[in-house]
């Protein structure tokens, strides 16, 4: 059954996260905590489910991974730009304490929604960075909203980003369904992996339909490979092959 192509030789997809078993590193992205409150502020009275759902999802993942060394969050832990709302403050703290129960270290990358995480970053085992580099494996973790000029960038063989919330819509005749997915392709001859958002409220951006935001993805995506995650992971091959 699981003879399917792996996204990386040393990592596997578990639900919406990417897991490096040897290093005991778990990567997630774009939780957008406080999303509901942002909508409420705009006059949509959305009940709150995001935090609860995310924690439940994580619990299932942790059951498989056991205690971790590192959790890397590729940015956009919270939703609001520029300030921290009351709900975000509470939820971010709740989330971080929950994560720290399950991991020795939390590496938090700065997303475009994370401008003011300063006060929270003072958490005891939390680092807030622009990027994170796994030296030995030559993997560079970034949010993906901008291209950083770094010496690590030159060294890296693999880039892992978030930001885009990739999803694909599968169509058959008049039928359409949208799924979150991981995608993998190339950027400047390096492997590029984009993680789906961990946020349970939204499905994400259809990468075959919409114009994409990340500068890494302003290219023809036809040769990008797709892994859809639902009850388990499904490899769908190249975008150009299945999307016709």
């Amino acid at each position: 059954m699981n003879k399917e192509k792996k996204i990386l030789s040393n990592a596997e997809i578990i639900d919406l996260s990417l897991f490096f078993p040897k290093e005991k590193i778990l990567v997630i992205t774009d939780l957008h905590l406080g999303y509901e409150e942002a909508l409420i502020k705009q006059g949509t009275f959305l009940p709150r489910f995001n935090l609860k759902d995310s924690i439940n999802k994580l619990k299932k993942i942790f059951a498989k991974t056991k205690k971790l060394n590192k959790i890397i969050i590729l940015g956009d832990l919270k939703h609001e730009f520029g300030f921290i709302s009351e709900q975000e403050w509470r939820e971010v703290i709740q989330m971080l304490s929950f994560l720290s129960e399950n991991s020795k270290e939390i590496i938090l990358l700065k997303g475009n929604h994370d401008n003011i995480l300063g006060p929270i970053a003072k958490w005891k085992n939390l680092t807030l960075e622009d990027f994170f580099f796994l030296e030995k494996q030559k993997i560079l973790f970034l949010h993906g909203d901008k291209i950083l000029s770094l010496k690590e960038f030159q060294k890296a063989k693999t880039l892992i980003i978030g930001h885009e919330h990739p999803a694909v819509t599968l169509t058959e005749e008049t039928k359409k369904e949208k799924f979150k997915c991981f995608i993998k392709g190339k950027y400047k001859k390096k492997d590029l992996i984009v993680l789906p958002s961990f946020n349970t409220t939204t499905e994400g951006t259809d990468i075959t339909q919409k114009k994409l935001l990340s500068p890494f993805l302003k290219q023809n995506l036809g040769n990008f490979e797709v892994w859809i995650t639902a009850d388990k992971t499904y490899f769908f091959g190249k975008i150009k092959d299945f999307h016709s």
Binding site: G43, F45, P47, F179, T208, D241
Partner: protein, 921 residues
């Protein structure tokens, strides 16, 4: 009690009730009162609730307003006119409001002049008399000595008496000036400016002309609402255009709120020809203590001659291409237009409106340039007003409209109305053709142009019903909970009050008269945020509800402003802009976009475009030269055929079918057709041929025989249901059957729905008998609730309901959400709401709206009952190719799919396909 006003009043009787000024004005202006006026004026004068149903241009407005003007003139003459609202007039159209104001100002100004004249004469006479008396007095004083004191006194007293009449001294009286009646008319709509409103607050209009939405706003304006106390009349114009939708449901509660301020108010409804008229009356008057308030119905006979004909561009539709039909259509249109002074053409869609204008100009450039225009709701307001103005001035030869010119603004002289394609209901047909000869005692001239053979039959039966005055029935939506939420919010803002009293007020409104207490309290729970945890309640609660005291009240400082800026029931239409790069091409319906895949070709404004991708509310396309569309035009705005008319078409089929069965000669059958529907020879022949073909090919379906035609094509099996019950019923039936079928075969079922029937298509076996048995009238609702659960239409309707019930605020903190943003928000909301409670009241309301307002579950149940009782025979029959009647079902159906597979199953299946493909590479 609802009763019909049978007796007419005489001219003399009516005039005797009227103030002499008004009576005189009428006599000068008109030869006589119109039919509706003869029935209604005395009733309204006597403060009886009255519903007047008559065609446009029959003096309906004055039927309602004469008694009102009369009383106001009387009051003013006696110096008793107060600074408050006496009459509230409501119409669904803003445009109509200004028209009405103009129409009322005309008599008022003229009567004002009469009044002035009358006073001047009176003053002059008084002066004369005083002078005469003075003279007498002087004379007498001259002869003082000869005079007895007594006589002197009597003359003095006489003078005094004259003076005392108006309480003024002689010298004052000599300077007397005529006063004014000064009856004020004000229009208050969303367009009314701040300064106009401020003026209205000081000088309150005695007759207030407004819309349902603005009335609701004023009822919640703390100071202004006081002006409504003891109002005497409430006039609802074009009530037929309100009773069958949620604007009307909203208005019905506002009417009760107004009545609470003015318990003795008299309600007057004005309606086009509509059925069932008693239902409209109940809607108008509401209930008191559980009983329908009294109402007199006046159904005025048509005084105008109805000159209606069905025309076909070609003698028949056999072996002709669409191009040929189109070619001939424009020739026919041109001829009709040229033969008349001013023509109004109605199409059924906005895009067709544009197309007609475009082609007429192109094909007959000499005849049409600046003298032709389009008028539909997608065009800007300025454009529409300009068109109306030019139409009134007689500058236009022809105007093409969709539905926007249906309602009664005065559009000047029109001598011909052309209906392109079936208007789908008799009431609508009459409303549309009624726009011609908009003057009394003229003839109404309408031509129905048919585009194919189904259209021909439909229009022929429609014509028959119009001539025989058989009007199809509308339905009044029952207990819409989203509207209820909005109104309760408004009521709570007004002042804190006992929730039980609010319930009693609500159930006085006819659409809510059957509202269960439990449903009402569900809405109270929703509004008071009971669906969230206590700590979150402050965020979600819109009102407070104290269960101990049973009081509700407003919550938060923003409540009033939120209410005022979000009032209303009309959903924002989500149009997606179609662009080539940055260049705007036009717009398409949001529902249509949902059906598009990359590479699909569709038609917009007569051009083919290939769909590339969507970004928010923009669709990027490239031109697709001459390529045929891969997606059929989606008739999202197409009007559904009314159930009653559909049944009558079924009857016609049955009648003719029997004759074929009895092998009656051609001549006899054609004679019958000629006599039954009033059409011309070409049409008789075409109808005969069409029916004969169907009869010979297969069998004649009818309203009593549901024919199910099964045929295969490749690996697809199609079951064609010849269920001529109108699209709303077919929508319900087809989805129920498709759902049952998909459960039986564990696969998706494709469906295609029209007014005349529906098609179910599968690529497996087709267990029809089992499927038919599993859909029963008693189970229908349950099945449909499941069947619609995953559909886009439920999602979209949920958005409308969420906005109406203020779960999504369209306008908040100075910002307005586009329909696209509302849709995004509603997608998140619907899944969250389902998790709270799958029977969340607003979600249930969306389901109700789909089943009862969009579809017609009530009549679908009736059809199923007919099948169960044997009144309707179902017959399955196999064919090699689709029968003639099936042809259009196939061609024009609106496609949809009944999703059986859940999301994961679907994913797994596609995944397997992909794996196969990857392996084979």
């Amino acid at each position: 009690m609802i009763s019909f006003q049978k007796e007419k009043y005489s001219e003399k009787q009516i005039h005797s009730m009227l103030n002499p000024l008004l009576s005189e004005w009428f006599k000068e202006k008109f030869d006589s009162f119109t039919e509706p006026q003869k029935y209604s004026i005395p009733n309204i004068h006597n403060k009886q609730n009255t519903l007047v149903s008559a065609v446009t241009g029959s003096g309906k407005t004055l039927s309602a307003f004469t008694a009102v003007l009369n009383e106001l003139i009387n009051l003013s003459e006696n110096n008793q006119l107060e600074n408050k609202v006496y009459a509230v007039y409501i119409s669904p159209l803003r445009a109509l409001n200004n028209d009405i104001k103009r129409n009322l100002l005309e008599p008022l100004n003229e009567i004002e002049k009469k009044f002035e004249l009358k006073q001047k004469q009176e003053i002059a006479e008084t002066k004369k008399e005083i002078n005469k008396l003075k003279k007498e007095l002087k004379e007498l004083e001259k002869n003082k000595k000869q005079l007895k004191n007594k006589e002197k006194e009597s003359i003095k007293n006489k003078i005094k008496e004259k003076e005392l009449v108006s309480g003024k001294t002689l010298s004052q009286k000599q300077k007397l000036k005529p006063k004014k009646l000064d009856i004020r008319i004000g229009v208050r709509t969303g367009d009314t400016t701040q300064s106009e409103r401020a003026l209205m607050a000081r000088k309150v209009p005695h007759i207030l002309i407004t819309t349902p939405e603005s009335l609701a706003i004023m009822l919640n304006a703390p100071k202004f609402r006081e002006n409504f106390r003891e109002s005497q009349w409430l006039i609802i114009d074009e009530i037929h255009a309100l009773a069958n939708n949620k604007r009307g449901s909203h208005l019905s509660i506002s009417m009760e709120r107004l009545q609470k301020l003015s318990p003795k108010i008299t309600r007057i409804g004005l309606s086009a020809t509509i059925a069932p008229i008693k239902e409209i009356a109940r809607f108008l008057v509401g209930l008191e203590k559980g009983k329908t308030r009294n109402c007199r119905i006046i159904e005025a006979k048509l005084e105008k001659k109805l000159n209606l004909k069905v025309l076909s561009p070609l003698p028949n539709f056999i072996d002709v291409t669409q191009e040929q039909v189109q070619e001939k259509l424009y020739e026919l249109l041109d001829k009709l237009i040229q033969d008349h002074k001013t023509t109004l053409i109605f199409t059924n869609t906005r895009s067709a409106t544009e197309r007609i204008v475009h082609h007429l100009k192109e094909k007959f450039p000499k005849n049409y340039s600046a003298n032709i225009d389009a008028h539909h709701s997608s065009l800007s307001r300025t454009h529409r007003l300009n068109t109306e103005e030019r139409l009134k001035k007689g500058e236009l030869k022809v105007v093409v409209s969709s539905t926007s010119l249906e309602l009664g603004i005065d559009i000047g002289f029109i001598d011909l109305v052309v209906l392109l394609g079936s208007p789908k209901s008799v009431a609508r047909a009459l409303q549309r053709v009624g726009r011609s000869g908009h003057k009394l005692h003229d003839e109404i001239k309408g031509r129905l142009i048919v585009m194919d053979r189904d259209d021909l039959i439909e229009c022929s039966v429609l014509l028959k019903n119009a001539v025989e005055h058989k009007i199809d029935r509308i339905q009044v939506p029952k207990n819409p909970l989203d509207v209820l939420s909005q109104q309760i919010y408004g009521i709570a803002i007004e002042e804190s009050q006992k929730v039980e009293e609010v319930y009693q007020l609500i159930i006085q409104a006819y659409p809510f008269s059957s509202l269960k207490r439990s449903s009402f309290y569900e809405i109270i729970d929703y509004l008071s945020g009971k669906f969230t945890s206590l700590e979150n309640r402050h965020v979600y609660a819109k009102i407070w509800f104290d269960e101990e005291t049973g009081f509700i009240g407003k919550r938060g400082k923003m409540a009033r402003i939120i209410y005022m800026t979000n009032i209303g029931t009309i959903p924002d239409e989500a149009r997606v802009t179609v662009k080539i790069k940055e260049h705007k091409i036009g717009s398409i319906d949001e529902g249509f976009l949902e059906r598009l895949k990359r590479g699909d070709v569709f038609i917009l404004g007569g051009q083919s475009y290939e769909f590339r991708y969507a970004q928010g509310m923009t669709a990027q396309v490239i031109t697709a030269y001459q390529r045929p569309p891969t997606v059929p035009s989606w008739f999202s705005e197409m009007l559904p055929l009314s159930f009653d008319l559909a049944l009558d078409i079924g009857k016609f089929r049955e009648l003719i079918g029997q004759k074929f069965k009895l092998k009656k000669p051609e001549k006899e059958i054609k004679n019958l057709i000629r006599k039954y529907v009033y059409v011309e020879e070409n049409a008789v022949n075409a109808i005969y041929e069409y029916f004969k073909e169907q009869f010979l090919f297969l069998e004649m379906p009818s309203q009593k025989k549901l024919l199910i035609e099964v045929f295969s094509e490749g690996n697809m099996r199609h079951a064609i249901f010849h269920s001529l019950y109108g699209r709303r019923v077919n929508d319900a039936l087809s989805r129920a059957y498709a759902f049952a079928l998909s459960k039986l075969i564990h696969k998706d079922v494709e469906l295609s729905i029209t007014d005349n029937g529906f098609v179910l298509s599968v690529n497996t076996k087709l267990p029809l008998d089992k499927m038919l048995k599993s859909v029963t009238s008693s189970e229908l609702k349950k099945i449909l609730v499941f069947a619609i659960e995953k559909t886009e239409v439920l999602n979209r309707r949920f958005r409308h309901c969420a906005v109406r019930s203020l779960m999504i605020l369209r306008s908040y903190k100075g910002r307005t959400k586009t329909a696209g943003r509302q849709q995004m928000a509603s997608r998140l909301l619907i899944s969250a709401v389902r998790r709270i409670d799958n029977n969340f009241p607003i979600l249930n309301e969306a389901r109700r709206e789909v089943l009862e307002d969009l579809m017609d579950i009530e009549n679908a149940e009736k059809v199923l009952q007919g099948i169960e009782s044997g009144l309707i025979e179902t017959k399955i029959i196999f064919s090699d190719i689709p029968s003639p009647f099936a042809f259009n079902l196939f061609l024009q159906g609106r496609m949809d799919v009944m999703k059986m597979e859940d999301k994961i199953q679907f994913l797994k299946r596609l995944h397997e396909q992909i794996q196969e493909r990857i392996k084979s590479k």
